[in-house]
């Protein structure tokens, strides 16, 4: 450590004073971190307090079901689990198609608690996994930012991350989804990467690979890491920052990381076969080439080196061109150009909506709107640019990584609203750096200008105040320069060495700091403003956590003039299914409700939220957009017994099946061309009012949604679409209503069995005469589809 060393020689008394201060600071930051952890955990408990301790939304229900299976049957059964209760009749190999990180984490937690005789239910553990890992994530943020810009920035970033709304939206208690642990894994992997880069230690490099493995286990977003890190390595090489530390951090990560990633069944050979991973291999080759060049440079004389360079470059270019040509040809020969659909939609935002309706249909795959940035990262959006500037003063390997991280994540978040989640930590880190640097400057200016402090004390106070921030950086720099000393031939390192020699002169530093001092009033006002900004952020975050992101979405509430209304229709419907249908009955619904049906109702479903088979989903979409008889035949061929539709028209619940209907038509029409979207459109719109097309009014979804709807208010006024429905009175011939929940939000229909008899031809004259004699028969006749 440079700074303390100089202190020893000058003022020994001050040195002891300083270690005391450091120790005090260490304890303080420990407690601050503890409090940040508590904050991160407790801000996510609004959902439990306001609602109840339940699993939220859709995907968490699947994860919960998998975790239950894991805790009941053990890890080998889980690994080999073939689930026959979903994607009927195809089934799904859960063990090979699921990212097991979250499940294994929660399963381990549960097992640990149980072996400590803390008998928590699996559900409780699942509900609280996300908040626990949010605390871990904020600690990881502290570590990462500390590596980049010192402990002060680290604490600020950790505090920001603990309550950033974007992350809260995915990690409230009950939101038991992959992202809950994956964000921690992401940040921790980045931390270990920076740590290795700063220390050049193989130990950390190995840990880094293991952290990467955990990330691969947890979330498909691991491809972000395996593309971002090569980008950073490439950036370092291009900007002349190559060092042996860079090699140590990168080579083990690619080799070990790829090997470990291939162990995860869901990734398997994808780790070497898909183009998402190719960048890392390319950079791996480049790193080796660069390392080799540096090595050759060291042993050859400059003249010889020049000759060698011309020779190698000319040959190498030729070979490279050939290899690239072959690669391009190979990749171009595959229909999706070697990229999976979801990744393609990242690079070309219009790709998904053009070609893959199943991806575009998911709301979280849509590009975000501007307000959502303000909602999700709030004031951080304004602090990020300041943070980026701070990262450039001075630019180290670590801070360049942060800059790269924020730049790429901003791009990706602009493509897909779900990836705001990746942006959030980056924004927190840069904002933390910005805030901490700003506080640094302002407090220092105040200290300089406050009367009554001796100039000597001023110097040291100024230095110690920044010590938290600078010491780490210095340590980094010294470590770096020490190491680079060994690289004799590097011109770059020589330059650094010179810098290093100049640096210890405290006087120069103090001089520099004096220049940064601002007027007292300006500093105080700015500090106040910054605190105000922070307060605004906190208020917004707490509001977002309490109001916006805590709804479990299986229970809805609404406030009206006569008090609070609770809509518990989903669980009502699933409970009905569980208690009133046969255990092997198949339930068809749009895929959104598949996971919930299997988990809550324990009934076999045709499609679910794991949208792996587009054709199967298209079959259900086709059935929903077909007339009753065709739909009946499709469903019957799939052995479906019950059809479940979600209908919000009575209470004004907007995300119901009618609003999702366009996707059923598009996905269905994508596979079965007899479903044509224009048939359902009037003036380019899906309408269900009197202007609706006959195809629309006759399709199954319309009928199942609005069957008997007119009986509720006499007019059939749909509160979501704000219009009266087009066809009010109709009968169902092939389906019968068996259950409708209290607020009509879920309606369950049963497929009628096929007619026992096939009637002869209807004779109009006869039926007229007979209608007088037996009115019952008339009704039968109308219903009868078989003629």
């Amino acid at each position: 450590m440079t700074a303390p060393e100089t202190s020893i020689t000058t003022v020994p008394r001050l040195y002891t004073n300083k270690t005391l201060r450091n120790a005090f600071g260490g304890v303080l930051s420990f407690f601050i971190l503890l409090l940040i952890g508590v904050l991160a955990f407790s801000i996510r408990l609004f959902s439990v307090i306001k609602y109840e301790s339940v699993i939220h939304e859709f995907d968490p229900y699947f994860n919960y079901r998998v975790t239950q299976f894991l805790t009941k049957k053990g890890i080998y059964e889980f690994w080999n689990w073939f689930d026959d209760r979903t994607w009927y009749p195809l089934g799904r190999v859960i063990g090979g198609t699921v990212y097991p990180g979250l499940t294994l984490t929660a399963g381990t937690l549960w097992w640990l608690l149980n072996s400590l005789n803390i008998p928590l239910s699996v559900e409780t553990v699942c509900v609280f996994t996300a908040p626990i890992f949010s605390a871990f994530a904020s600690w990881a943020t502290y570590l990462l930012t500390k590596e980049v810009k010192g402990a002060g920035a680290g604490l600020t970033a950790a505090a920001l991350l603990a309550m950033v709304p974007s992350y809260i939206s995915r990690s409230v208690a009950g939101s038991y989804d992959n992202e809950a642990v994956a964000i921690f894994a992401l940040i921790f992997t980045f931390y270990l990467y920076i740590k290795t880069l700063n220390t050049g230690s193989l130990f950390y490099a190995t840990l880094n690979s293991i952290a990467y493995f955990y990330m691969v286990c947890s979330w498909g977003g691991y491809t972000f890491i395996i593309n971002l890190i090569p980008m950073h390595v490439l950036l370092c090489i291009v900007t002349g920052r190559y060092s042996s530390r860079l090699y140590i951090v990168y080579a083990p990560l690619v080799v070990l990381g790829t090997l470990l990633a291939a162990l995860v069944p869901v990734v398997g050979f994808n780790a070497v076969m898909t183009s998402e991973h190719f960048a890392s291999f390319l950079v791996f080759i480049i790193v080796h080439v660069v390392a080799f060049v540096y090595y050759i440079k060291g042993i050859l004389s400059p003249k010889m080196f020049k000759v060698a360079v011309t020779l190698v470059v000319s040959v190498g270019l030729a070979v490279c061109c050939a290899v690239i040509a072959v690669l391009i040809a190979l990749v171009a020969s595959s229909p999706t150009k070697g990229w999976s659909g979801r990744s393609l939609s990242l690079l070309d935002p219009t790709y998904a909506s053009k070609y893959i309706p199943i991806i575009a249909s998911v709301s979280e795959h849509q590009p975000p709107t501007w307000p959502s940035y303000f909602m999700d990262i709030n004031v951080l959006a304004f602090l990020v640019p300041a943070g980026i500037i701070a990262c450039f003063l001075p630019l180290s390997d670590a801070s360049s990584f942060v800059v790269l991280y924020i730049a790429t994540s901003v791009y990706f978040s602009g493509v897909m609203v779900r990836l705001m989640l990746v942006l959030a930590p980056a924004a927190c880190i840069t904002s933390g750096i910005a805030l901490s640097q700003a506080f640094d400057v302002f407090t220092r200016s105040i200290k300089f200008q406050l009367p009554g402090l001796s100039s000597n004390a001023e110097v040291h106070a100024g230095e110690t105040s920044s010590a938290t921030a600078e010491a780490q950086n210095d340590a980094v720099n010294t470590g770096k320069s020490e190491e680079t000393l060994k690289d004799r031939s590097s011109r770059k390192s020589k330059k650094k060495e010179r810098e290093h020699v100049e640096k210890p002169s405290t006087k120069a530093k103090v001089e520099k700091k004096r220049l940064l001092a601002l007027p007292l009033e300006a500093s105080v006002i700015s500090l106040l403003l910054l605190v105000l900004l922070g307060a605004f952020y906190v208020v917004h975050c707490v509001w977002a956590a309490a109001e916006a992101y805590s709804a479990p979405s299986i229970v809805l509430t609404s406030h009206s003039h006569d008090g609070l209304h609770v809509f518990d229709d989903f669980r009502e419907a699933y409970a009905w299914l569980r208690h009133n249908t046969d255990v092997d009955d198949k339930v068809a619904s749009w895929w959104d409700y598949g996971y919930q049906t299997t988990a809550m109702a324990n009934r076999t479903v045709i499609v679910d939220n794991n949208t792996w088979n587009n054709t199967h989903i298209a079959t259900v979409g086709t059935a929903m957009s077909s007339p009753e008889k065709a739909a009946w035949e499709i469903f019957h061929s799939l052995d479906v017994k019950y059809v479940l539709v979600v209908f919000g028209g009575l209470v004004g619940y907007p995300s119901d099946d009618i609003n999702k209907f366009l996707w059923m038509v598009r996905i269905g029409g994508g596979v079965f061309p007899h479903i044509k979207e224009p048939d359902y459109l009037r003036d380019g719109q899906y309408r269900i009012d009197s202007q609706a097309t006959p195809t629309m009014l006759n399709c199954l979804m319309y009928k199942l949604s609005y069957y008997r709807f007119v009986e509720t208010d006499g007019k059939g006024f749909d509160r979501v679409r704000q219009t009266e429905i087009g066809k009010k009175y109709f009968k169902l011939t092939h389906f019968e209503e068996v259950f409708t929940t209290h607020h009509w939000m879920v309606r369950i229909y049963k497929l009628k069995p096929s007619k026992n008899r096939i009637r002869g031809k209807t004779k109009k004259s006869k039926s007229k005469t007979s209608s007088t004699s037996s009115p019952k028969r008339n009704g039968r006749k109308k219903k009868n589809p078989w003629h």
């Binding site: 096939i758 002869g760 007979s770 019952k776």
Partner: protein, 436 residues
């Protein structure tokens, strides 16, 4: 038959429905309600009724407009079969109406409907509900100027002698009906697309349906072999229905009449009516052609317990037992065309079952190399027999992680290459690091 295919997916749990048509516990005690226009039919058709009685049926006669008429009491059906010999009834008495008759059939009971020239709308509607359309012209009769019965005294050729029977031993019995059947009544037609209706006795190609009293101004609506004289229906719940346009078909008079078909040199002492009607009533009342399949089971080769799940490429054995009701007891059903499907959206395995002659059918095959939720399906639909549609769900899983081959022989060079590389690198490192 195309339509039929859709509806065969019944769970095994639904199997009792297949036997619903008559009480398997006491199949010998069967009650038949006969509705008549007037009681004189009781004596004029006594041979038919007596044959029913002699076969163990408990026959009860009632007038069609009897005000106490009721098919069920307290939700239980009082009868197992209904015979409507009341063609001119416009409205049934009591609680009986068209819907009640249809519900009776839909709950698995049998029905015989006979109409004649005076057939009311009610009777015609019953037939229409069952898929048989009587001629719309209410006074039209079947006329055939070529294959009429010579013995008839009337010269209008409405007494038809037909021997165009359905080719089915199941419906008409093993004994061939030599003598033509005499028919006098109205025509009906069946929809060719309707797979549930069978024409048992068809008119010849020269027959037509017309009103005798009026002059034939335009071509008759029904003519030739489109005319069916006697049809049977087997509903999807295996309720059996017989519909004919001639009440006289069952009469003692036509049973006893000697018959000679026009243009045929053979003269028979007795018409084929008695044999025909008796045999067909046996079929309608499930004394023939009623199958049941029970005890569908399967297991892996070498094991005896039924597994909850198979693995791909498992070898399995499949068993099912099929019996036929003989009128008195369940006899083993012997056939060589019963097949089992191993089905997931389409049959992956289709195998003909071999039988031991005692009702047990079995097959063994390998589970296909594809996982999913399969079904064992036995769909047996043969002319005259009850439809057998059994299915049993069974999931098929892929290999477990430790069921793959641990070492592949052809990959040994690669194993060798990787291990020598590792060893080489290890020695290289030692030499490089410590040999200075």
């Amino acid at each position: 038959m195309k339509n039929l295919c859709f509806f065969f997916i019944f769970g095994v749990s639904l199997f009792p429905l297949l036997c619903f048509s008559f009480n398997p516990e006491s199949p010998l005690d069967r009650r038949v309600l006969v509705l008549l226009d007037d009681f004189s039919l009781k004596s004029s058709h006594s041979i038919f009724f007596n044959s029913l009685k002699s076969r163990g049926f408990n026959v009860e006669f009632k007038l069609a407009d009897d005000p106490s008429l009721s098919l069920q009491r307290y939700g239980q059906y009082l009868y197992d079969a209904l015979i409507l010999f009341s063609p001119s009834t416009e409205r049934f008495g009591g609680s009986l109406d068209l819907a009640a008759v249809i519900d009776f059939v839909d709950s698995g009971h049998d029905l015989i409907v006979a109409a004649d020239a005076s057939a009311s709308d009610l009777i015609k509607n019953v037939a229409t509900e069952c898929g048989v359309d009587f001629d719309e012209d209410s006074s039209a009769m079947v006329i055939d100027h070529k294959s009429y019965a010579i013995s008839g005294t009337e010269g209008d050729h409405t007494l038809i002698a037909s021997d165009d029977f359905i080719q089915s031993d199941v419906v008409l019995g093993k004994t061939k009906i030599d003598a033509p059947v005499l028919f006098k009544g109205i025509a009906h037609s069946v929809n060719a697309a309707n797979g549930l209706v069978l024409k048992v006795l068809s008119a010849s190609s020269s027959a037509y349906s017309a009103n005798l009293a009026s002059k034939l101004l335009r071509p008759p609506l029904l003519s030739g072999s489109a005319i069916s004289l006697v049809s049977v229906v087997q509903a999807r719940n295996n309720a059996r229905i017989m519909i004919t346009g001639s009440l006289d078909l069952f009469s003692n008079r036509l049973f006893r009449t000697a018959v000679q078909k026009a243009g045929s040199p053979f003269k028979f002492e007795k018409s084929g009516n008695e044999q025909f009607v008796t045999e067909i009533s046996k079929w309608v009342f499930h004394e023939r052609g009623h199958l049941k399949a029970v005890d569908l089971r399967h297991h892996k080769v070498g094991e005896t317990d039924e597994p909850a799940m198979y693995r791909i490429k498992d070898n399995l054995k499949f068993y099912v037992e099929i019996y036929e009701w003989s009128g008195k007891s369940w006899e083993p059903f012997v056939a060589d065309d019963v097949q089992v499907q191993f089905y997931m959206m389409s049959p992956y395995v289709l195998k003909t079952l071999s039988t031991d002659g005692k009702g047990l059918y079995h097959a063994s095959f390998m589970v296909p190399d594809i996982y999913g939720v399969f079904q064992f399906k036995v769909d047996y639909h043969r002319l005259g027999y009850t439809s057998l549609s059994l299915s049993k769900q069974i999931p098929v899983r892929p290999f477990r992680h430790n069921e793959y081959e641990r070492f592949i022989t052809t990959a040994f060079p690669y194993y060798g290459a990787s291990f020598t590389t590792m060893a080489g690198f290890f020695f290289f490192s030692i030499v490089y690091l410590y040999n200075k």
